[in-house]
Protein backbone atom coordinates (compact mmCIF):
# COMPACT_ATOMS: atom_id res chain seq x y z
CA UNK A 1 0.00 0.00 0.00
CA UNK A 2 1.59 3.22 -1.12
CA UNK A 3 -1.16 5.51 0.13
CA UNK A 4 -0.24 7.51 3.21
CA UNK A 5 -2.69 6.80 6.01
CA UNK A 6 -5.40 9.38 6.73
CA UNK A 7 -7.27 8.19 9.79
CA UNK A 8 -4.28 6.39 11.31
CA UNK A 9 -1.81 9.11 10.35
CA UNK A 10 -0.89 10.19 13.86
CA UNK A 11 -2.81 7.53 15.73
CA UNK A 12 -0.12 6.67 18.30
CA UNK A 13 1.09 10.23 18.82
CA UNK A 14 1.28 10.62 22.61
CA UNK A 15 -1.56 12.80 23.85
CA UNK A 16 -3.45 12.85 20.54
CA UNK A 17 -6.67 12.58 22.55
CA UNK A 18 -6.01 16.04 23.98
CA UNK A 19 -7.03 19.21 22.21
CA UNK A 20 -3.53 20.66 22.36
CA UNK A 21 -1.81 17.84 20.45
CA UNK A 22 -4.71 17.46 18.03
CA UNK A 23 -4.55 21.14 17.17
CA UNK A 24 -0.77 21.02 16.80
CA UNK A 25 -1.34 18.28 14.24
CA UNK A 26 -3.67 20.51 12.25
CA UNK A 27 -6.87 19.64 14.07
CA UNK A 28 -9.99 21.82 13.69
CA UNK A 29 -8.51 23.61 10.66
CA UNK A 30 -11.06 21.80 8.47
CA UNK A 31 -13.85 23.03 10.73
CA UNK A 32 -12.63 26.61 10.31
CA UNK A 33 -12.65 26.09 6.57
CA UNK A 34 -16.15 24.54 6.70
CA UNK A 35 -17.51 27.44 8.73
CA UNK A 36 -16.45 29.80 5.97
CA UNK A 37 -18.25 27.64 3.37
CA UNK A 38 -21.95 27.58 2.51
CA UNK A 39 -23.64 24.42 3.88
CA UNK A 40 -24.50 23.32 0.32
CA UNK A 41 -20.84 23.56 -0.61
CA UNK A 42 -19.89 21.23 2.25
CA UNK A 43 -22.39 18.61 1.10
CA UNK A 44 -21.19 19.08 -2.48
CA UNK A 45 -17.60 18.37 -1.41
CA UNK A 46 -18.64 15.21 0.43
CA UNK A 47 -20.72 14.17 -2.56
CA UNK A 48 -17.77 14.76 -4.90
CA UNK A 49 -15.49 12.70 -2.66
CA UNK A 50 -17.50 9.56 -3.39
CA UNK A 51 -17.33 8.65 0.32
CA UNK A 52 -19.56 5.69 1.10
CA UNK A 53 -20.82 4.90 4.59
CA UNK A 54 -18.28 2.90 6.59
CA UNK A 55 -20.74 1.29 9.00
CA UNK A 56 -22.03 -1.56 6.86
CA UNK A 57 -24.47 -0.53 4.16
CA UNK A 58 -22.02 1.58 2.15
CA UNK A 59 -24.56 4.23 1.21
CA UNK A 60 -23.05 7.37 -0.37
CA UNK A 61 -22.58 9.83 2.51
CA UNK A 62 -23.18 12.97 0.47
CA UNK A 63 -26.46 11.74 -0.93
CA UNK A 64 -27.68 10.64 2.50
CA UNK A 65 -27.04 14.13 3.78
CA UNK A 66 -28.94 15.70 0.87
CA UNK A 67 -32.06 13.63 1.68
CA UNK A 68 -32.71 15.76 4.75
CA UNK A 69 -35.42 18.35 4.17
CA UNK A 70 -34.36 22.00 4.16
CA UNK A 71 -35.94 24.32 6.67
CA UNK A 72 -35.98 25.32 10.29
CA UNK A 73 -37.55 22.21 11.84
CA UNK A 74 -35.70 20.32 14.58
CA UNK A 75 -33.20 18.09 12.80
CA UNK A 76 -30.77 15.71 14.43
CA UNK A 77 -27.48 14.06 13.66
CA UNK A 78 -26.67 10.77 15.36
CA UNK A 79 -23.21 9.26 15.25
CA UNK A 80 -23.51 5.49 15.32
CA UNK A 81 -20.73 4.37 17.65
CA UNK A 82 -22.52 1.17 18.69
CA UNK A 83 -19.83 -0.90 17.03
CA UNK A 84 -21.03 -4.44 17.77
CA UNK A 85 -20.55 -6.38 14.55
CA UNK A 86 -18.42 -9.40 15.49
CA UNK A 87 -14.91 -8.87 14.18
CA UNK A 88 -15.13 -5.07 14.07
CA UNK A 89 -12.97 -2.92 16.33
CA UNK A 90 -11.92 0.04 14.18
CA UNK A 91 -14.19 2.65 15.78
CA UNK A 92 -12.96 1.65 19.23
CA UNK A 93 -9.34 2.39 18.35
CA UNK A 94 -10.23 5.56 16.42
CA UNK A 95 -12.41 7.03 19.19
CA UNK A 96 -10.02 6.05 21.94
CA UNK A 97 -6.97 7.59 20.33
CA UNK A 98 -8.37 10.45 18.28
CA UNK A 99 -11.70 11.62 19.75
CA UNK A 100 -11.36 15.19 18.50
CA UNK A 101 -11.35 14.07 14.88
CA UNK A 102 -14.78 12.55 15.47
CA UNK A 103 -16.03 15.76 17.09
CA UNK A 104 -14.70 17.79 14.17
CA UNK A 105 -16.36 15.42 11.69
CA UNK A 106 -19.69 15.65 13.50
CA UNK A 107 -19.56 19.44 13.47
CA UNK A 108 -18.77 19.53 9.74
CA UNK A 109 -21.54 17.07 8.88
CA UNK A 110 -24.02 18.95 11.07
CA UNK A 111 -23.10 22.27 9.50
CA UNK A 112 -23.58 20.78 6.03
CA UNK A 113 -27.05 19.43 6.79
CA UNK A 114 -28.18 22.43 8.85
CA UNK A 115 -28.37 20.47 12.10
CA UNK A 116 -27.85 21.94 15.55
CA UNK A 117 -28.46 18.99 17.88
CA UNK A 118 -26.27 15.93 17.63
CA UNK A 119 -25.82 12.72 19.60
CA UNK A 120 -23.10 10.09 19.79
CA UNK A 121 -24.60 6.70 20.58
CA UNK A 122 -21.69 4.66 21.95
CA UNK A 123 -22.10 1.04 23.02
CA UNK A 124 -22.23 0.56 26.78
CA UNK A 125 -19.25 -1.78 26.86
CA UNK A 126 -16.93 1.01 25.62
CA UNK A 127 -16.62 2.68 28.99
CA UNK A 128 -13.00 3.77 28.63
CA UNK A 129 -13.75 5.21 25.19
CA UNK A 130 -16.83 7.01 26.51
CA UNK A 131 -14.74 8.62 29.23
CA UNK A 132 -12.13 9.75 26.72
CA UNK A 133 -14.86 11.20 24.49
CA UNK A 134 -16.46 12.94 27.45
CA UNK A 135 -13.17 14.62 28.31
CA UNK A 136 -12.63 15.61 24.68
CA UNK A 137 -16.15 17.06 24.44
CA UNK A 138 -15.55 19.15 27.55
CA UNK A 139 -12.25 20.43 26.17
CA UNK A 140 -13.77 21.24 22.78
CA UNK A 141 -16.68 23.05 24.40
CA UNK A 142 -14.34 25.09 26.58
CA UNK A 143 -12.36 26.09 23.48
CA UNK A 144 -15.51 27.28 21.74
CA UNK A 145 -15.80 24.49 19.18
CA UNK A 146 -19.14 23.29 20.56
CA UNK A 147 -22.04 25.47 21.69
CA UNK A 148 -23.52 28.79 20.59
CA UNK A 149 -21.92 30.73 17.75
CA UNK A 150 -18.98 28.41 17.13
CA UNK A 151 -15.73 30.36 16.56
CA UNK A 152 -17.67 33.56 16.09
CA UNK A 153 -19.81 32.21 13.25
CA UNK A 154 -23.62 31.96 13.12
CA UNK A 155 -23.38 28.18 13.52
CA UNK A 156 -24.44 26.62 16.84
CA UNK A 157 -24.25 22.95 17.66
CA UNK A 158 -24.52 20.68 20.71
CA UNK A 159 -23.13 17.17 21.07
CA UNK A 160 -24.52 14.75 23.66
CA UNK A 161 -22.74 11.49 24.40
CA UNK A 162 -25.28 8.73 24.98
CA UNK A 163 -24.16 5.35 26.29
CA UNK A 164 -25.97 2.16 25.29
CA UNK A 165 -26.27 -0.85 27.56
CA UNK A 166 -25.37 -3.90 25.53
CA UNK A 167 -27.54 -4.88 22.57
CA UNK A 168 -26.26 -5.65 19.07
CA UNK A 169 -29.54 -4.58 17.50
CA UNK A 170 -28.96 -0.97 18.60
CA UNK A 171 -26.36 -0.72 15.84
CA UNK A 172 -29.26 -0.98 13.39
CA UNK A 173 -30.17 2.64 12.72
CA UNK A 174 -33.86 2.55 13.67
CA UNK A 175 -33.22 0.27 16.65
CA UNK A 176 -30.61 2.80 17.69
CA UNK A 177 -33.16 5.62 17.47
CA UNK A 178 -35.65 3.78 19.66
CA UNK A 179 -32.90 3.04 22.15
CA UNK A 180 -31.84 6.69 22.15
CA UNK A 181 -35.44 7.64 22.86
CA UNK A 182 -35.23 5.49 25.99
CA UNK A 183 -37.08 2.43 24.76
CA UNK A 184 -36.25 -1.17 23.99
CA UNK A 185 -34.12 -1.15 20.86
CA UNK A 186 -36.65 -2.57 18.43
CA UNK A 187 -36.16 -1.61 14.77
CA UNK A 188 -38.88 0.39 13.05
CA UNK A 189 -40.70 -0.14 9.80
CA UNK A 190 -39.08 1.70 6.90
CA UNK A 191 -40.18 3.90 5.17
CA UNK A 192 -40.37 6.52 6.54
CA UNK A 193 -36.58 6.57 6.54
CA UNK A 194 -34.77 8.36 9.37
CA UNK A 195 -33.79 11.18 7.01
CA UNK A 196 -37.48 12.12 6.87
CA UNK A 197 -38.75 10.92 10.22
CA UNK A 198 -36.20 9.70 12.74
CA UNK A 199 -35.24 10.72 16.24
CA UNK A 200 -38.18 12.34 18.10
CA UNK A 201 -40.00 12.15 14.74
CA UNK A 202 -37.63 14.75 13.27
CA UNK A 203 -35.40 14.38 10.20
CA UNK A 204 -32.27 12.55 11.32
CA UNK A 205 -28.90 11.96 9.72
CA UNK A 206 -27.17 8.81 11.00
CA UNK A 207 -23.51 8.19 10.20
CA UNK A 208 -20.87 5.76 11.36
CA UNK A 209 -17.84 6.95 13.36
CA UNK A 210 -15.36 6.28 10.55
CA UNK A 211 -17.55 8.04 7.96
CA UNK A 212 -17.68 11.16 10.11
CA UNK A 213 -13.98 11.03 10.93
CA UNK A 214 -13.16 11.06 7.23
CA UNK A 215 -15.02 14.33 6.66
CA UNK A 216 -12.38 16.72 8.09
CA UNK A 217 -9.86 15.30 5.62
CA UNK A 218 -12.30 15.65 2.71
CA UNK A 219 -12.95 19.28 3.57
CA UNK A 220 -9.22 19.92 4.01
CA UNK A 221 -8.07 18.48 0.67
CA UNK A 222 -11.32 18.81 -1.32
CA UNK A 223 -13.74 16.13 -2.45
CA UNK A 224 -12.18 15.63 -5.89
CA UNK A 225 -8.74 15.07 -4.41
CA UNK A 226 -10.13 12.44 -2.01
CA UNK A 227 -11.98 10.73 -4.86
CA UNK A 228 -8.64 10.01 -6.55
CA UNK A 229 -7.91 7.45 -3.83
CA UNK A 230 -9.29 3.97 -4.19
CA UNK A 231 -11.09 2.62 -7.23
CA UNK A 232 -14.25 3.52 -9.13
CA UNK A 233 -17.30 3.56 -6.88
CA UNK A 234 -15.13 2.85 -3.80
CA UNK A 235 -13.24 6.03 -3.12
CA UNK A 236 -10.77 6.59 -0.36
CA UNK A 237 -9.16 4.56 2.36
CA UNK A 238 -10.77 2.19 4.84
CA UNK A 239 -9.68 0.99 8.23
CA UNK A 240 -9.95 -2.78 8.10
CA UNK A 241 -10.09 -4.86 11.28
CA UNK A 242 -8.40 -8.20 10.73
CA UNK A 243 -8.92 -10.90 13.36
CA UNK A 244 -9.17 -14.64 13.91
CA UNK A 245 -6.45 -16.99 12.66
CA UNK A 246 -3.84 -14.47 11.58
CA UNK A 247 -0.43 -13.74 13.08
CA UNK A 248 -0.91 -10.00 13.55
CA UNK A 249 -4.58 -9.18 14.20
CA UNK A 250 -5.33 -5.47 14.26
CA UNK A 251 -6.56 -2.40 12.40
CA UNK A 252 -4.98 -1.61 9.04
CA UNK A 253 -5.78 1.38 6.89
CA UNK A 254 -5.82 0.38 3.24
CA UNK A 255 -6.70 2.07 -0.01
CA UNK A 256 -9.94 0.52 -1.27
CA UNK A 257 -9.22 -1.88 -4.10
CA UNK A 258 -6.16 -3.41 -2.42
CA UNK A 259 -6.09 -7.17 -3.09
CA UNK A 260 -7.51 -9.06 -0.12
CA UNK A 261 -4.50 -11.37 -0.10
CA UNK A 262 -2.26 -8.40 0.59
CA UNK A 263 -4.34 -7.42 3.62
CA UNK A 264 -4.57 -10.90 5.08
CA UNK A 265 -1.03 -12.07 4.31
CA UNK A 266 1.26 -9.04 3.94
CA UNK A 267 -0.29 -6.86 6.61
CA UNK A 268 -1.87 -9.30 9.07
CA UNK A 269 0.72 -12.03 8.56
CA UNK A 270 -1.58 -14.76 7.27
CA UNK A 271 -2.64 -17.90 9.15
CA UNK A 272 -0.26 -19.63 11.59
CA UNK A 273 2.59 -21.62 10.01
CA UNK A 274 1.46 -24.88 8.48
CA UNK A 275 -2.15 -23.75 8.29
CA UNK A 276 -4.21 -22.65 5.32
CA UNK A 277 -7.05 -20.21 5.01
CA UNK A 278 -10.24 -22.24 5.01
CA UNK A 279 -12.82 -19.49 4.93
CA UNK A 280 -12.94 -15.78 5.65
CA UNK A 281 -15.59 -13.20 6.33
CA UNK A 282 -14.77 -10.06 4.36
CA UNK A 283 -17.11 -7.65 6.16
CA UNK A 284 -17.95 -8.80 9.66
CA UNK A 285 -19.80 -11.93 10.70
CA UNK A 286 -22.87 -10.87 8.67
CA UNK A 287 -21.17 -11.16 5.30
CA UNK A 288 -21.38 -14.34 3.21
CA UNK A 289 -18.13 -16.27 3.56
CA UNK A 290 -15.39 -16.55 0.96
CA UNK A 291 -12.78 -19.28 0.62
CA UNK A 292 -9.10 -19.61 -0.21
CA UNK A 293 -10.00 -19.37 -3.90
CA UNK A 294 -11.31 -15.82 -3.41
CA UNK A 295 -8.20 -14.35 -1.80
CA UNK A 296 -7.33 -12.29 -4.85
CA UNK A 297 -10.61 -10.36 -4.87
CA UNK A 298 -9.85 -6.63 -4.64
CA UNK A 299 -11.08 -5.26 -1.33
CA UNK A 300 -13.69 -2.70 -2.40
CA UNK A 301 -17.48 -2.42 -2.38
CA UNK A 302 -18.21 -3.51 -5.96
CA UNK A 303 -15.64 -6.31 -6.27
CA UNK A 304 -16.87 -7.93 -3.07
CA UNK A 305 -20.48 -7.55 -4.16
CA UNK A 306 -19.55 -9.24 -7.44
CA UNK A 307 -18.01 -12.10 -5.45
CA UNK A 308 -21.40 -12.59 -3.79
CA UNK A 309 -20.58 -10.99 -0.48
CA UNK A 310 -20.12 -7.50 0.95
CA UNK A 311 -17.61 -5.11 2.45
CA UNK A 312 -19.91 -4.45 5.39
CA UNK A 313 -18.11 -2.87 8.31
CA UNK A 314 -14.69 -3.79 6.92
CA UNK A 315 -13.92 -6.58 9.36
CA UNK A 316 -12.02 -9.56 8.01
CA UNK A 317 -12.30 -12.71 10.12
CA UNK A 318 -9.97 -15.48 9.00
CA UNK A 319 -10.67 -19.12 9.87
CA UNK A 320 -7.95 -21.68 9.13
CA UNK A 321 -8.28 -25.38 8.34
CA UNK A 322 -7.99 -26.45 12.00
CA UNK A 323 -11.59 -25.39 12.72
CA UNK A 324 -14.65 -27.35 11.55
CA UNK A 325 -17.09 -25.20 9.59
CA UNK A 326 -19.90 -26.47 11.83
CA UNK A 327 -18.30 -24.81 14.87
CA UNK A 328 -18.19 -21.48 13.06
CA UNK A 329 -21.80 -21.80 11.88
CA UNK A 330 -23.04 -22.74 15.34
CA UNK A 331 -21.19 -19.88 17.04
CA UNK A 332 -22.63 -17.47 14.54
CA UNK A 333 -26.20 -18.75 14.74
CA UNK A 334 -26.16 -18.66 18.55
CA UNK A 335 -25.02 -15.04 18.47
CA UNK A 336 -27.86 -13.95 16.20
CA UNK A 337 -30.37 -15.97 18.21
CA UNK A 338 -29.27 -14.16 21.34
CA UNK A 339 -29.35 -10.74 19.70
CA UNK A 340 -32.62 -11.09 17.78
CA UNK A 341 -34.97 -8.54 19.35
CA UNK A 342 -37.94 -10.85 18.76
CA UNK A 343 -40.11 -8.38 16.91
CA UNK A 344 -40.28 -10.23 13.57
CA UNK A 345 -41.18 -13.92 13.45
CA UNK A 346 -38.83 -15.05 10.64
CA UNK A 347 -35.80 -13.75 12.53
CA UNK A 348 -36.86 -14.82 16.03
CA UNK A 349 -37.87 -18.32 14.98
CA UNK A 350 -35.42 -18.70 12.11
CA UNK A 351 -32.35 -18.00 14.21
CA UNK A 352 -33.65 -20.38 16.88
CA UNK A 353 -34.36 -23.27 14.51
CA UNK A 354 -31.06 -22.82 12.74
CA UNK A 355 -29.27 -23.27 16.06
CA UNK A 356 -31.32 -26.37 16.82
CA UNK A 357 -30.65 -27.95 13.46
CA UNK A 358 -26.93 -27.26 13.72
CA UNK A 359 -26.91 -28.80 17.19
CA UNK A 360 -28.73 -31.78 15.78
CA UNK A 361 -26.06 -32.25 13.14
CA UNK A 362 -23.40 -32.06 15.84
CA UNK A 363 -25.25 -34.61 17.96
CA UNK A 364 -25.47 -37.07 15.06
CA UNK A 365 -29.26 -36.91 14.98
CA UNK A 366 -29.61 -35.09 11.68
CA UNK A 367 -31.23 -36.55 8.59
CA UNK A 368 -29.89 -35.90 5.08
CA UNK A 369 -32.85 -33.56 4.50
CA UNK A 370 -31.79 -31.24 7.28
CA UNK A 371 -29.27 -29.30 5.24
CA UNK A 372 -31.90 -28.49 2.64
CA UNK A 373 -34.43 -27.53 5.28
CA UNK A 374 -31.83 -25.32 6.93
CA UNK A 375 -31.02 -23.69 3.61
CA UNK A 376 -34.71 -23.02 3.00
CA UNK A 377 -35.09 -21.52 6.49
CA UNK A 378 -32.33 -19.07 5.55
CA UNK A 379 -34.12 -18.16 2.33
CA UNK A 380 -37.32 -17.50 4.22
CA UNK A 381 -35.62 -15.11 6.61
CA UNK A 382 -33.97 -12.95 3.97
CA UNK A 383 -36.01 -9.88 3.10
CA UNK A 384 -38.90 -10.76 5.38
CA UNK A 385 -38.09 -8.72 8.48
CA UNK A 386 -38.10 -5.08 9.47
CA UNK A 387 -34.31 -5.02 9.70
CA UNK A 388 -31.45 -7.14 8.41
CA UNK A 389 -30.43 -8.90 11.64
CA UNK A 390 -32.01 -12.15 10.47
CA UNK A 391 -30.49 -11.72 7.03
CA UNK A 392 -27.16 -11.18 8.74
CA UNK A 393 -27.32 -14.76 10.00
CA UNK A 394 -29.03 -16.22 6.95
CA UNK A 395 -26.51 -14.93 4.42
CA UNK A 396 -23.32 -16.37 5.93
CA UNK A 397 -24.99 -19.62 7.04
CA UNK A 398 -26.56 -20.02 3.60
CA UNK A 399 -23.19 -19.45 1.95
CA UNK A 400 -21.53 -21.99 4.27
CA UNK A 401 -24.10 -24.64 3.35
CA UNK A 402 -23.45 -24.03 -0.35
CA UNK A 403 -19.65 -23.87 -0.13
CA UNK A 404 -19.02 -26.50 2.54
CA UNK A 405 -21.86 -28.93 1.91
CA UNK A 406 -19.51 -31.91 1.69
CA UNK A 407 -17.97 -31.10 5.02
CA UNK A 408 -21.37 -30.74 6.67
CA UNK A 409 -22.42 -34.10 5.23
CA UNK A 410 -19.19 -35.79 6.30
CA UNK A 411 -19.62 -34.32 9.78
CA UNK A 412 -23.17 -35.66 9.93
CA UNK A 413 -22.09 -39.10 8.86
CA UNK A 414 -19.14 -39.33 11.23
CA UNK A 415 -21.31 -38.32 14.18
CA UNK A 416 -23.94 -40.86 13.20
CA UNK A 417 -21.34 -43.60 12.96
CA UNK A 418 -19.87 -42.58 16.30
CA UNK A 419 -23.37 -42.73 17.77
CA UNK A 420 -24.06 -46.15 16.28
CA UNK A 421 -20.78 -47.58 17.58
CA UNK A 422 -21.47 -46.24 21.03
Amino acid sequence: MSQAPILLRDIDEPGLATLEVYQRRGGYEALRKALAMEPEAIVAQIDASGLRGRGGAGFPAGRKSSFLPKGDMDKYLVCNADESEPGTFKDRELMQKCPHMLIEGILIAARGAGITRTFIYIRGEYEAQARILDAALAEAAAAGYIGEGILGSDFSCSIVLHRGAGAYICGEETGLLDSLEGKRGNPRLKPPFPAIQGLYQGPTLINNVETLMTMPHIIAVGGEEYAKLGVANSAGTKVVSVSGHVKRPGNYEIELGTPSREIIFDLAGGPPDGRRVKLWFPGGSSSPVLTEADLDVPYDFDSLAKAGTMLGSGAIIVVDDSTPVLDVALKLAKFYRHESCGKCTPCREGTNWTVRMLERIDAGEATPMDLDIMASVQEHIIGNCLCVLGDAMAMPIGSMIVKFREEFEAHMLSRQIAGAVA
Binding site: L8, D10, D12, E125, A165, G182, A268, K331, H338, C341
Partner: protein, 208 residues
Amino acid sequence: MAVTRYAHGSRVPGWDRAADLDKDPAGVPDPALVAVPAELRSEIEAAMALYPDRHSAALPALAAAQRRHGWCSPEAIEQVACVMAVTPAYLTSVATFYDMFELEPVGRHSVYVCTNISCSLRGADELYAALEAAAADDPNINLRAFECLGACDIAPMVSVDHAYYGPLELADARRLVDDLAAGRDPIPELALALRRTADPNANSEGGA
Protein backbone atom coordinates in the same frame (compact mmCIF):
# COMPACT_ATOMS: atom_id res chain seq x y z
CA MET B 1 -38.97 -33.74 19.75
CA ALA B 2 -40.79 -31.73 22.37
CA VAL B 3 -40.75 -28.04 21.66
CA THR B 4 -40.68 -25.65 24.57
CA ARG B 5 -42.32 -22.56 23.20
CA TYR B 6 -40.45 -19.32 23.76
CA ALA B 7 -37.88 -20.92 26.03
CA HIS B 8 -35.17 -19.82 23.64
CA GLY B 9 -35.92 -16.40 22.46
CA SER B 10 -37.35 -14.40 25.28
CA ARG B 11 -34.85 -11.91 26.59
CA VAL B 12 -37.12 -11.35 29.56
CA PRO B 13 -36.21 -13.25 32.72
CA GLY B 14 -39.34 -14.35 34.50
CA TRP B 15 -41.39 -14.60 31.31
CA ASP B 16 -42.63 -17.98 32.50
CA ARG B 17 -43.74 -16.82 35.91
CA ALA B 18 -47.49 -16.50 36.22
CA ALA B 19 -48.83 -12.96 36.33
CA ASP B 20 -51.19 -12.00 39.11
CA LEU B 21 -54.08 -10.70 37.04
CA ASP B 22 -56.00 -9.45 40.06
CA LYS B 23 -53.26 -7.07 41.01
CA ASP B 24 -53.37 -3.55 39.61
CA PRO B 25 -50.24 -2.52 37.70
CA ALA B 26 -48.01 -0.10 39.58
CA GLY B 27 -48.53 3.50 38.57
CA VAL B 28 -46.00 6.31 38.59
CA PRO B 29 -44.50 6.28 42.10
CA ASP B 30 -45.61 9.05 44.44
CA PRO B 31 -42.62 11.35 45.12
CA ALA B 32 -43.91 11.87 48.67
CA LEU B 33 -43.60 8.17 49.42
CA VAL B 34 -40.38 7.13 47.69
CA ALA B 35 -37.04 8.06 49.19
CA VAL B 36 -34.46 8.71 46.49
CA PRO B 37 -30.81 9.29 47.42
CA ALA B 38 -29.97 12.91 46.58
CA GLU B 39 -26.94 11.98 44.48
CA LEU B 40 -28.92 9.56 42.37
CA ARG B 41 -31.69 12.09 41.94
CA SER B 42 -29.37 14.80 40.70
CA GLU B 43 -27.61 12.37 38.38
CA ILE B 44 -30.92 11.35 36.80
CA GLU B 45 -32.18 14.92 36.57
CA ALA B 46 -28.95 16.00 34.88
CA ALA B 47 -29.38 13.20 32.35
CA MET B 48 -32.99 14.17 31.65
CA ALA B 49 -31.95 17.75 30.98
CA LEU B 50 -29.70 16.66 28.10
CA TYR B 51 -32.50 15.48 25.83
CA PRO B 52 -35.56 17.05 24.19
CA ASP B 53 -37.60 14.17 25.67
CA ARG B 54 -36.93 13.07 29.25
CA HIS B 55 -37.59 9.40 28.38
CA SER B 56 -34.24 9.34 26.59
CA ALA B 57 -32.59 9.33 30.00
CA ALA B 58 -33.89 5.81 30.73
CA LEU B 59 -30.58 4.08 29.94
CA PRO B 60 -28.28 6.52 31.77
CA ALA B 61 -30.69 6.65 34.71
CA LEU B 62 -30.88 2.87 35.04
CA ALA B 63 -27.10 2.68 34.71
CA ALA B 64 -26.73 5.21 37.52
CA ALA B 65 -29.17 3.29 39.72
CA GLN B 66 -27.31 0.06 39.00
CA ARG B 67 -24.01 1.65 39.97
CA ARG B 68 -25.53 2.70 43.27
CA HIS B 69 -27.51 -0.42 44.13
CA GLY B 70 -25.33 -3.05 42.45
CA TRP B 71 -28.20 -4.28 40.30
CA CYS B 72 -31.55 -3.14 38.93
CA SER B 73 -33.46 -4.14 42.05
CA PRO B 74 -37.20 -3.36 42.36
CA GLU B 75 -36.16 -0.62 44.79
CA ALA B 76 -33.69 0.87 42.28
CA ILE B 77 -36.27 0.79 39.51
CA GLU B 78 -38.86 2.43 41.73
CA GLN B 79 -36.46 5.25 42.55
CA VAL B 80 -35.69 5.87 38.88
CA ALA B 81 -39.39 5.70 38.01
CA CYS B 82 -40.13 8.26 40.70
CA VAL B 83 -37.59 10.80 39.42
CA MET B 84 -38.41 10.25 35.74
CA ALA B 85 -42.18 10.18 36.36
CA VAL B 86 -42.68 6.92 34.47
CA THR B 87 -44.07 3.56 35.60
CA PRO B 88 -41.76 0.87 36.97
CA ALA B 89 -43.10 -1.46 34.27
CA TYR B 90 -41.76 0.85 31.55
CA LEU B 91 -38.29 0.79 33.08
CA THR B 92 -38.42 -2.95 33.65
CA SER B 93 -39.26 -3.47 29.99
CA VAL B 94 -36.19 -1.41 29.09
CA ALA B 95 -33.87 -2.99 31.66
CA THR B 96 -34.72 -6.52 30.52
CA PHE B 97 -33.76 -5.73 26.92
CA TYR B 98 -30.11 -4.82 27.50
CA ASP B 99 -27.38 -7.24 28.47
CA MET B 100 -25.55 -4.90 30.82
CA PHE B 101 -28.43 -4.41 33.24
CA GLU B 102 -28.40 -6.98 36.03
CA LEU B 103 -31.81 -8.26 37.09
CA GLU B 104 -30.52 -10.38 39.95
CA PRO B 105 -27.98 -9.48 42.64
CA VAL B 106 -24.43 -10.06 41.34
CA GLY B 107 -20.82 -9.76 42.47
CA ARG B 108 -19.38 -6.26 42.42
CA HIS B 109 -16.55 -7.00 39.96
CA SER B 110 -17.88 -7.60 36.47
CA VAL B 111 -15.74 -9.91 34.33
CA TYR B 112 -17.07 -10.23 30.79
CA VAL B 113 -15.36 -12.81 28.61
CA CYS B 114 -15.89 -12.33 24.89
CA THR B 115 -16.84 -15.73 23.48
CA ASN B 116 -17.81 -14.60 20.02
CA ILE B 117 -16.30 -15.90 16.84
CA SER B 118 -12.93 -14.13 16.63
CA CYS B 119 -12.12 -14.71 20.30
CA SER B 120 -13.33 -18.31 20.28
CA LEU B 121 -11.05 -19.05 17.30
CA ARG B 122 -8.20 -18.07 19.63
CA GLY B 123 -9.29 -20.01 22.70
CA ALA B 124 -11.96 -17.90 24.42
CA ASP B 125 -14.15 -20.88 25.33
CA GLU B 126 -11.23 -22.54 27.14
CA LEU B 127 -10.43 -19.23 28.82
CA TYR B 128 -14.01 -18.90 30.01
CA ALA B 129 -13.90 -22.42 31.46
CA ALA B 130 -10.63 -21.59 33.23
CA LEU B 131 -12.09 -18.41 34.69
CA GLU B 132 -15.20 -20.27 35.76
CA ALA B 133 -13.04 -22.74 37.65
CA ALA B 134 -10.85 -20.00 39.15
CA ALA B 135 -13.74 -17.77 40.22
CA ALA B 136 -16.07 -20.51 41.39
CA ASP B 137 -15.63 -19.69 45.09
CA ASP B 138 -15.56 -15.92 44.76
CA PRO B 139 -18.95 -14.31 45.30
CA ASN B 140 -17.52 -10.89 44.41
CA ILE B 141 -16.98 -11.81 40.78
CA ASN B 142 -19.79 -11.54 38.27
CA LEU B 143 -18.40 -13.73 35.47
CA ARG B 144 -20.29 -13.66 32.19
CA ALA B 145 -19.71 -14.96 28.68
CA PHE B 146 -20.41 -11.96 26.46
CA GLU B 147 -21.02 -11.33 22.79
CA CYS B 148 -18.36 -9.54 20.72
CA LEU B 149 -16.88 -6.73 22.83
CA GLY B 150 -15.13 -5.11 19.89
CA ALA B 151 -11.56 -6.02 20.74
CA CYS B 152 -10.78 -8.94 18.42
CA ASP B 153 -7.22 -7.63 18.02
CA ILE B 154 -6.43 -8.73 21.58
CA ALA B 155 -8.34 -12.03 21.42
CA PRO B 156 -9.01 -13.83 23.66
CA MET B 157 -9.92 -10.88 25.85
CA VAL B 158 -11.86 -9.95 28.96
CA SER B 159 -13.50 -6.78 30.18
CA VAL B 160 -12.84 -6.37 33.89
CA ASP B 161 -15.01 -3.70 35.48
CA HIS B 162 -15.41 -2.35 31.92
CA ALA B 163 -11.69 -2.03 31.17
CA TYR B 164 -10.30 -4.24 28.43
CA TYR B 165 -7.43 -6.73 28.80
CA GLY B 166 -5.87 -9.20 26.40
CA PRO B 167 -4.62 -11.39 24.89
CA LEU B 168 -4.89 -13.76 27.86
CA GLU B 169 -3.20 -17.11 28.38
CA LEU B 170 -5.08 -19.75 30.34
CA ALA B 171 -2.73 -19.18 33.29
CA ASP B 172 -3.83 -15.54 33.43
CA ALA B 173 -7.28 -16.65 34.60
CA ARG B 174 -6.02 -17.55 38.07
CA ARG B 175 -3.91 -14.39 38.30
CA LEU B 176 -6.84 -12.22 37.30
CA VAL B 177 -9.05 -13.69 40.01
CA ASP B 178 -6.29 -13.40 42.62
CA ASP B 179 -5.56 -9.77 41.65
CA LEU B 180 -9.22 -8.87 42.04
CA ALA B 181 -9.49 -10.64 45.38
CA ALA B 182 -6.41 -8.78 46.65
CA GLY B 183 -7.75 -5.44 45.44
CA ARG B 184 -4.86 -4.95 42.99
CA ASP B 185 -5.07 -3.71 39.40
CA PRO B 186 -5.76 -6.90 37.46
CA ILE B 187 -3.19 -8.14 34.92
CA PRO B 188 -1.94 -4.58 34.30
CA GLU B 189 0.53 -5.35 31.51
CA LEU B 190 -2.30 -6.72 29.34
CA ALA B 191 -4.35 -3.51 29.42
CA LEU B 192 -5.67 -2.50 26.03
CA ALA B 193 -4.95 1.16 26.71
CA LEU B 194 -1.22 0.49 26.32
CA ARG B 195 -1.35 -1.05 22.86
CA ARG B 196 -0.06 0.57 19.71
CA THR B 197 -1.88 0.10 16.45
CA ALA B 198 -0.89 -2.94 14.39
CA ASP B 199 -0.61 -1.15 11.05
CA PRO B 200 3.08 -0.72 10.10
CA ASN B 201 2.13 2.12 7.73
CA ALA B 202 0.36 4.16 10.40
CA ASN B 203 2.11 7.02 12.18
CA SER B 204 3.79 8.22 9.01
CA GLU B 205 5.71 10.86 10.91
CA GLY B 206 7.06 8.41 13.43
CA GLY B 207 4.47 9.47 15.99
CA ALA B 208 6.03 7.64 18.90
